[in-house]
């Protein structure tokens, strides 16, 4: 039985002003009531295609047909009016407002001519939540609700505005396995109600689980639309990257050396005074990777800030090679051969308006090799930058290109090149492969393993469970500022079990032996 196409994008061509061909003759058709995966590496053109659909970018060629009628979508407002909703990867919510207020924002019901009808706003928000089986307290403030619920609010926002087509941009990136399952149940429900969902994801098994069809993109072109049931994840990844991605690594057994990092009784509060780390203790030896899994916001960022010296407002002790670092400046700590790949690459990882070379040297411009008494040794730096660009496979025109112009994966490679080129003994990698393409992720993971084999101590914090499971020698789960559990035999860990620890359903009490002596 042929279902009706609610949306057709035909032969979309989009060339950005800097000459990048983001979409080349891409076509996409959506059937009513399907979950359609849009799959592709970073920079493959998925985002551009969705921006065209949502009215953020206008296509240079091609047309869009909504329910068979050719339409021009001028702006996001226009897209919303035409029944297209988008749930962005980074939530677009106002934290100090309630869930209901966020849902009705911009289309608030009014009483007495000019006052917001608060009661009706709550009723309407509750009604729409109930209709789609979203179990949500609409009077809660957004800043107080967990990530999974925030995402529900985003979906409700779109539905409240009458969205028939929902674009979900990597919706599971921040969710626990349990929350992901819950989301999938709700997506099924949306499907039953006749909504059509575009599901953007890197996670092949999720696509396999929930999507009906998948359109695969590579290098700005569509590699075709396939029925998911007829494809294996191997097929998908081959179409996506043009080669098989090795998710299994050849990992030698860990060869542990001396203790590099010692954390004892660490207590950290955030700027609002909320306790984020609660008596945390652990040791880390050279030659091992300590993976830290956990839902975001359970103290991971605070832990990194304490170890890297970004925050000194903590109780307890942090020692690197037996030396207490509390009194040391960030620079001094870094000079103890510490490398840090920060969680937010645009905010604290790089300076977007500076070029690749300048970013690569921001941590080592003052090394004797590169700096004279008064002036920098530009020749030497240029030579090194070119070397690193080659070594780390950074896709760019030259080292003079601004980092902000690169794709996410290439920005991350610039940062990794900078951090790894100093020859670290201790690497703090916080979400090193978040939101970057499979090729770049694989590259970074391999480098991490190489450093481990060379005797480097590594902390790997990641929301990608596959990543921590395949790389870690020890895997700790963080929940509410504590380690809920530690696994020493990482190969045997089930994702489900991990999820239970991540959500605080399970908790182990005695971790001394596994985490520290």
């Amino acid at each position: 039985m042929e279902k009706q196409a609610v949306l057709r994008m035909e032969h979309i061509m989009k060339i950005y002003s800097n000459g990048v061909v983001a979409n080349e003759d891409v076509s996409l058709d959506l059937e009513e009531g399907e979950i359609h995966a849009l799959l592709g590496e970073n920079g493959a053109g998925k985002s551009t295609l969705m921006k065209v659909l949502f009215g953020i970018e206008s296509p240079d060629e091609g047309k869009i047909l909504l329910n068979g009628v050719e339409t021009v979508i001028k702006s996001p407002q226009d897209a919303i009016a035409k029944g297209i909703g988008m749930v962005h990867q980074h939530f677009m919510l106002v934290s100090s407002l309630t869930v209901a207020e966020n849902i009705i924002l911009g289309v608030a019901p009014v009483k007495n001519l000019f006052l917001i009808d608060k009661k009706r706003a709550i009723q309407e928000a509750e009604a729409i939540a109930a209709k789609y089986n979203f179990n949500i307290d609409v009077t809660a403030r957004v800043e107080e609700i967990p990530v999974g619920v925030k995402q529900k609010v985003e979906i409700l926002k779109a539905l409240y505005r009458g969205a028939k087509i929902l674009i979900l941009d990597e919706p599971t990136a921040v969710l626990t396995p349990q929350e992901t399952n819950e989301l999938f149940v709700q997506l099924e429900k949306l499907k039953e109600n006749g909504h059509t969902v575009i599901f953007i994801s890197h996670k092949l098994d999720e696509i396999k689980k929930i999507c009906n069809r998948a359109t695969i993109m590579r290098n700005g072109k569509s590699m075709g639309t396939y029925s998911v049931a007829d494809m294996s994840t191997d097929d998908m990844s081959r179409l996506m990257v043009g080669r098989q991605v090795v998710l299994e690594f050849d990992k030698k057994p860990a060869n542990r050396t001396e203790t590099m990092l010692k954390v004892r009784d660490l207590i950290v509060h955030n700027s609002q005074g909320v306790q984020k780390i609660d008596h945390l203790s652990f040791d880390l030896k050279g030659g091992e990777i300590l993976g830290i899994a956990g839902v975001e916001g359970n103290g991971q960022s605070e832990l990194v800030e304490a170890i890297t010296g970004l925050n000194k407002n903590y109780h307890g002790a942090v020692q690197i090679r037996g030396e207490d670092i509390r009194k040391k400046t960030i620079k001094e700590i870094r000079n103890m051969n510490l490398a840090h790949i920060p969680e937010d690459r645009m905010k604290s990882g790089c300076a977007g308006t500076l070029n690749i070379l300048e970013n690569m040297f921001s941590n080592q411009y003052d090394r004797k090799e590169f700096s004279g008494r008064l002036f920098l040794k530009s020749k030497k730096m240029q030579q090194k930058a070119q070397e690193w660009i080659k070594e780390y496979l950074v896709k760019c025109n030259s080292y003079k290109q601004n980092v902000g112009m690169l794709s996410g994966g290439n920005i991350q490679k610039v940062i990794v090149a900078r951090e790894f080129s100093t020859g670290p003994d201790l690497i703090i990698a916080n979400q090193p492969t978040r939101g970057i393409d499979v090729g770049a992720s694989e590259f970074i993971r391999k480098r991490l393993l190489e450093f481990r084999d060379a005797g480097c101590a590594i902390i790997l914090i990641s929301a990608d469970l596959n990543e921590v499971l395949s790389l870690s020698d020890r895997l700790a789960v963080m929940y509410k500022g504590r380690f809920a559990s530690v696994f020493t035999e990482v190969e045997k860990v089930q994702e489900e079990l991990l999820g239970q620890y991540m959500l605080g359903i399970k908790k182990d009490d005695r971790l001394e032996g596994a985490m520290y002596e």
Binding site: P76, I80, H90, L97, L105, Q272, G273
Partner: protein, 319 residues
């Protein structure tokens, strides 16, 4: 001195000093809620103080000043025109920073400097004077005499006989509170100020909202400016805003940019100003006394920051 503090006259003098700051604080609050620091308040007030004199004199020319009614009409004409121009100044400021993407602080400094020199220039052109508008026959805002209540001792003396604009400034607090927290537009303003992207994701044009907020901010600031030359004094003198725009920025910030919070802090600054006025009767050097309102601002901001820091520290140590 003490006698002075416990007199009805002192309360009145507080209200007189609070009124212009209160208007400007509301102006700052609405801009801040939309995510803009409106440092141009100072210039907006100064310009409006001059326009108030000019427009109300113009009103006097049209309606005359013979009867109470014609005086009120002249005032009303001048006030409305001033507020309109205040909105226009807000619009121009908004155009500079939102459309032309000028830095909001630099644009504000430019506007304040234009106001500072421009008012003197206009005054010179219109009245041939450089210091004050004493030759211009402007019409001040009327006082509100409440018939029966006025005869009650103390309370009546305070409630009755206040300047119309003082009442209006208190009304502005209530209106701004309702506007920001109870109306759809207020919700949009707060959303834009806190998270522009979130607001835009639901189809709200952040730029439009900020335009609206700045026009309202300009109108409120102009009311404060009008009061300076048509209530607090009865003429325009050069630099008569005297830092009130900046004081209002501090007041608004200390009041967490809420109308009610700003109101309470404004009164504090009004008291400081009133004390300074009173102390002019003593032998303490004038220059020291004139320092009081500004010193209060500095100390106030200091205490505010200290309290916030302490609160954080206390939370940190309570494990």
């Amino acid at each position: 001195m003490l006698n002075g503090i416990f007199s009805v006259e002192f309360v009145n003098s507080i209200l007189r000093a609070t009124t212009p700051i209160l208007f400007a604080t509301m102006a700052s609050a609405v801009a801040a809620k939309a995510g803009i620091c409106n440092m141009a308040l100072e210039g907006m007030m100064l310009l409006s103080a001059l326009f108030g004199v000019l427009f109300s004199a113009m009103g006097g020319g049209i309606f005359g000043t013979a009867s109470g009614l014609s005086q009120f009409a002249s005032f009303g004409f001048g006030f409305l025109l001033t507020v309109l121009v205040g909105g226009l100044i807000g619009l121009i400021f908004a155009f500079c920073i939102l459309h032309m993407k000028a830095d909001e602080i630099l644009a504000a400094i430019a506007l304040n400097l234009i106001a500072s020199g421009g008012t003197v220039m206009i005054l010179m052109a219109v009245a041939g004077e450089k210091g004050a508008s004493s030759t211009i026959a402007s019409v001040a805002a009327p006082k509100v005499v409440i018939p029966l209540i006025g005869s009650i001792p103390v309370l009546g003396e305070i409630l009755s006989g206040q300047n119309l604009l003082t009442w209006l400034s208190i009304l502005a607090v209530i209106v701004m509170h309702v506007f920001l927290y109870k109306t759809p537009m207020g919700l949009k303003i707060r959303a834009v100020g806190e998270n522009k992207n979130a607001a835009e994701s639901v189809g709200i044009s952040a730029r439009k909202i900020q335009y609206i907020a700045l026009v309202i901010s300009g109108m409120l600031a102009s009311m404060g400016g009008f009061y300076l030359s048509g209530g607090y004094m009865n003429m325009f003198t050069r630099e008569m805003a005297a830092g009130r725009g900046y004081i209002a920025l501090a007041a608004s910030s200390m009041g967490a940019d809420t109308p009610v919070g700003g109101f309470l802090v404004s009164i504090l600054f009004g008291i400081a100003q009133a004390v300074a006025n009173l102390m002019q009767l003593t032998t303490i050097p004038m220059q020291l006394i004139q320092l009081i309102p500004y010193l209060t601002t500095l100390i106030g901001l200091g205490i505010y920051s200290y309290a916030r820091m302490k609160r954080r520290k206390k939370l940190l140590s309570s494990e």
